[in-house]
């Protein structure tokens, strides 16, 4: 059972999830679940890092390559940050035990999905990482809007995942196996290409890439910002890893895949950036910005193996700051005007938000810049000049709406006093996320070295 030891991180998180279900009731402390979960997640991350890469295990259903390890650590860490933040929620806020448990289960699914080497494992861990998200989206069960968002998410995601499943069935039927290793043959026939296309549709929907993004803005806008902070970031990382590995597995002549990826990328960049511009609710704005960033990720994913690494790195580079911003939104209020005068109230946080936003725009030395750099390098290396041109132009546009946030934070006039939420735990989370945002940019080298990521 030494193989099972390799799954220690997942098991730890799972343990946390199970404990979380009862922690509050037993301890009577409203945030016990989060308080227990956070350290567990950190330990999980450390262990995942220590375990490092490993060949195929469980009859080749899982394999821990460098991407998988990177993703596992990233997911566990982000989960930890999120839990840390949750643990600081005031007693007034809604009960969090279920949320914590679901989030951790979703994390388990994500970590497995990152290391999956078998379509069946992929499919089921994908579902495991997605289904909790429905609940988190509609976590305010008294709030009709939240539930509406959840329903939209649920129905669309189910439709797309069925299409994906349909595709998977053909992929299996054609290759006669569900192991990634045998999928090379699928790309040959028309039916195979349809299968691949369907699989991509499913993954696009998970990454909320256009034109399968429609659920995203509504679901986010209805959901509590805290949930959005988690749902919009962590599952995405896993999804990207899965996408990259599947693309690698399918890459026969690659023609179909590349075209589909690029088409999705182009649409996402345009739709996301353009539609984000007029938004006034941070959740909705970040939803569209998420669509846009998925566009960049798809662009990288279309650019060979180097692109794959870049895509995963970029997914993390996107996840870290946007989780921070959503957490801030959950604390301060999600309307742009709610952030007004933050610089006066909490200068440190305000400046942290500057770091996050600049990173999302792609200004050095933040991680976002490094992500864009590697991504564009890979893309240009594959001769995708024109779409890169679109990408950079769109990143300028994106600066336009990120600055709306910045402007409100620093120069907005606040009418009321603003919510008086001051939780040290939240501050710790912000600090951690800020540090990561900067460190991954400036000290990228040792990190890449450690995980053995090659561009």
């Amino acid at each position: 059972m030494s193989e099972l030891l390799l799954l220690t991180p997942e098991l730890l998180v799972l343990l946390g999830a199970l404990v979380a279900l009862f922690a509050d009731r037993i301890t009577g402390h409203p945030r016990a679940a989060a308080h227990i979960g956070a350290p567990l997640a950190v330990i999980a991350a450390l262990i995942a890092a220590l375990i490092g890469t490993h060949g195929g295990v469980f009859a080749g259903m899982l394999a821990l390559d460098s991407l998988a390890v990177f993703a596992r650590v990233a997911i566990a860490l982000l989960l930890a940050f999120w839990l840390r933040w949750v643990s600081g929620r005031g007693a007034g806020a809604e009960r969090s035990a279920e949320a914590v448990a679901l989030a951790m289960l979703s994390a388990v699914g994500g970590m497995l999905m990152a290391s999956a080497r078998d379509l069946i494992v992929l499919f089921i861990s994908l579902e495991l990482s997605t289904m909790p998200a429905y609940v988190l989206m509609g976590y305010r069960r008294t709030d009709a809007r939240g539930l509406e968002g959840a329903l939209k998410y649920f129905l669309l995601s189910m439709l797309t995942s069925l299409i994906m499943l349909y595709g998977l069935s053909f992929a299996y039927g054609i290759s006669g196996s569900t192991a990634y290793a045998d999928l090379g043959v699928v790309d040959a026939g028309t039916l195979g290409q349809l299968a691949i296309a369907f699989v991509l549709v499913g993954l696009f929907a998970k990454l909320s890439a256009a034109p399968f993004h429609y659920w995203t803005p509504d679901a986010y806008a209805g959901a509590p910002a805290g949930s959005v902070a988690y749902v919009s970031t962590v599952p995405k990382i896993a999804g990207v890893v899965a996408l990259v590995q599947l693309v690698a597995a399918f890459a026969g002549n690659g023609g179909t895949i590349t075209v589909v990826l690029l088409a999705g990328s182009l649409l996402s960049m345009l739709v996301g950036n353009l539609a984000a511009y007029p938004q006034t609710d941070i959740r909705r704005l970040m939803a569209y910005s998420g669509v846009a960033h998925s566009g960049y990720i798809l662009l990288a994913a279309a650019a060979g193996s180097a692109g794959g690494t870049a895509a995963v790195f970029y997914a993390v580079a996107y996840a870290v700051p946007s989780m921070a911003i959503m957490l801030l939104g959950s604390e301060e209020g999600t309307a742009l005007d709610d952030l007004a005068g933050l610089a006066a109230r909490r200068p440190a946080v305000a400046w942290a938000s500057v770091v996050w936003l600049l990173s999302l725009i792609g200004i050095p030395p933040m991680v976002g810049f490094f992500g864009k750099l590697t991504m564009f390098t890979a893309a240009l290396d594959n001769g995708l000049l024109w779409i890169v041109a679109v990408a950079v132009t769109m990143s300028v546009v994106s600066a336009g709406y990120y600055f709306k946030i910045l402007r409100s934070v620093f120069f907005g006039e606040r009418l009321d006093a603003g919510r008086a939420t001051r939780s040290t735990a939240a501050v710790i989370a912000y600090a951690a996320l800020t540090v990561v945002t900067l460190a991954l940019g400036v000290l990228a080298s040792p990190v890449l070295e450690f995980f053995g990521l090659r561009f």
Binding site: L119, I120, V135, L147, L151, M158, S169, G173
Partner: protein
């Protein structure tokens, strides 16, 4: 007359299509979910068919089908709970009734 894999796949495709039509056209949330179930069912049929013809020994498709069933069962359970929750607030499960979030 021989009946083989193509027949199974065709049948599955037809069922999938009908389910899709339902998923797109129905106004009642529960009804939509039923249609989705129909699609899931079709996919399972696909898998079992492949399993029978392509990997009769390994039965991979059958396992796949099992897991897919579990998953869709879970999904439907969750979905129905959601519908009920919505019904509690809105006294309706009509999709056109849930249209507040847009833009």
């Amino acid at each position: 007359m021989t009946v083989g894999l193509p027949h199974v796949l065709t049948l599955a495709a037809l069922l999938f299509g009908i389910g899709l039509y339902g998923a797109l056209s129905r106004k009642n949330a529960v009804h939509v979910m039923m249609s989705l179930e129909l699609m899931a069912n079709a996919v399972n049929l696909n898998l079992v068919g492949f399993s029978r013809f392509v990997t009769p020994e390994a039965m991979t498709g059958q396992f796949f089908a099992v897991f897919s069933m579990i998953v869709s069962a879970a999904e439907i359970g969750l979905g129905l709970a959601l519908v009920i929750a919505i019904y509690r607030r809105k006294r309706s499960v009509e999709l056109d009734a849930v249209q507040e979030l847009k833009g």
